[in-house]
């Protein structure tokens, strides 16, 4: 395993992580399930590529525009669908994701279904890590703010939140738009890492992958999302030895982890050094006691 290979996995994990962070806000903290976030990624990816390839803009402004356009689309979709309750919203996003993919399949200007080669390779491990860190900082601050608490209140009891005077629609909208920005930027980075874009990359499989990572990491935990993105992106690579059975083993591994920890890896808790210290000291304490009992 050479560094180039590991670096590639880390970059892909970092890109996934950014999309997952956004989805974590929507699903983990606001309680809205989406199976269409690959659609927002696609919009971000193609917009960013248009900006940098056709309009010759630098990488970072292109990424920002990609995120922004994804947010604009989410605004339109949100206006139409956020009044739907629970599962219906989920189905609507599923339709949205597939619709975006099919539209891109038929836009010949952007390569259509054949794909769009020749996108400059501008995504590096460094800028992925920097953007991820910025994304995490923004998200942590948002969740700790009044706005974040409103979103959590909506997740816990939507009707009660409405009754005490939270503008539920508005906060769902904000959550959806921010998650779309994250997905859009992640898509933009993906295109500039692979150097190639194809609508097929943003199929529903991609959306479900993102949702699986959020649930796997633990709903309502940012550190869980980080851990989940790293583990679940690198897991299929670690399983390369299984050759064509790789994804079967991957599926089985996910099932077993979910059975043993149904609340997800972090289960709604955040990583903190204090908690780690507590766990380690309790482990030592137990060992000591056991030792004493032995005597």
């Amino acid at each position: 395993m050479d560094w180039f290979y590991i670096q590639g996995i880390l970059i892909l994990a970092g890109i996934n992580l950014l999309a997952v962070l956004g989805l974590s806000l929507l699903t983990g903290f606001t309680g809205l399930f989406s199976f269409g976030h690959a659609g927002f990624m696609a919009i971000g990816a193609y917009t960013t590529a248009i900006m940098s390839v056709k309009l010759h803009l630098p990488f970072i402004p292109s990424l920002m525009i990609g995120g922004l356009i994804a947010a604009l689309v989410s605004l339109l979709i949100g206006k139409l669908t956020l009044n739907l309750k629970g599962d219906y919203f989920c189905i609507a996003t599923l339709g949205l994701g597939e619709a975006i993919r099919l539209i891109l399949d038929n836009v010949q200007y952007l390569g259509g279904a054949r794909g769009w080669p020749g996108i400059p390779l501008k995504t590096t491990l460094l800028n992925v890590v920097i953007i991820d860190i910025i994304g995490i900082i923004i998200l942590v601050n948002l969740i700790r703010s009044k706005h974040g608490r409103n979103m959590i209140a909506i997740r816990e009891e939507e009707m009660a939140s409405q009754i005490i005077g939270i503008n539920v629609f508005r906060y769902k909208m904000i959550s959806l738009m921010i998650s779309a920005i994250y997905a859009g930027v992640a898509g933009g980075m993906l295109g500039h890492y692979l150097g190639f874009l194809q609508p097929k990359m943003f199929q529903i499989v991609k959306s479900t992958e993102l949702t699986i990572i959020v649930i796997f990491g633990g709903l309502g935990s940012i550190s869980g999302s980080v851990l989940g993105a790293l583990v679940l992106t690198s897991l299929p690579e670690m399983l390369r030895t299984f050759a064509q059975w790789r994804l079967v083993v991957y599926g089985i591994a996910v099932i077993f982890i979910m059975i043993s920890r149904p609340q997800g890896l972090m289960g709604g808790h955040e990583f903190s050094f204090h908690a780690v210290k507590k766990i380690i000291s309790s482990m030592f304490y137990r060992k000591k006691q056991r030792g004493l009992g032995g005597r």
Partner: protein, 242 residues
Amino acid sequence: MLSIRDLNVYYGGIHALKGVSIDVEEGQIVSIIGANGAGKSTLLNAISGMVKPKEGRILFKGKELPPAPHKIVELGISQVPEGRLIFANLTVKDNLMMGAYLRKDKIGIEKDLEKVFALFPRMKERIHQMAGTLSGGEQQMLAIGRGLMSNPDLILLDEPSLGLAPLLVKTIFDIIESIQQMRKTILLVEQNAYKALSIADKAYVLEQGKIVKEGSGKELIKDKSIQEAYLGKKQKSEETLA
């Protein structure tokens, strides 16, 4: 204070409220009784903006209500929903503070918190307990307390006695009367018709989306058809009960 005129609400093809008109005067307890599915909760949800009526007007203090629920709370209407819907993962105090979500006056909030604790001493004992670990009756008290924390003029109570032991039902109704003494107006929806009528200044009977009877609580308790349909009394035994 609140007057509703010809309110029509539909759920898809189902006509849930058929031209309902009611009036609530300031400082009164107004009860709405009726069987399951009569449209009682729908009526409250229409007032609080949870359900959009198709036709009709809802006037509060002489003005038409805005469509958005959070704007309605701001005007001084607070709903205590059916099934309590408290925030299970927050402490009792945080739940109460959530009720004051739209308020900015810290001194007023503190005062109202004291009032709620005076009304529900049990809540003060459990101030730091997770709301989800409270008993059903305590959760109902918490939901009412939360409803009071927005300092409303009108409180909408949706089935406050639902699923509670008889002794607790009595406590809850005593509390509703003490809330009235705090100069609040109360619109109460109940299946426990006898209790609801006995504390009501005015009451309406809702049947299949229509108001079929109205009058003072005392009048309706004595009404023969209501006794038969809602109070479980047979016509023959009427004299012994009177």
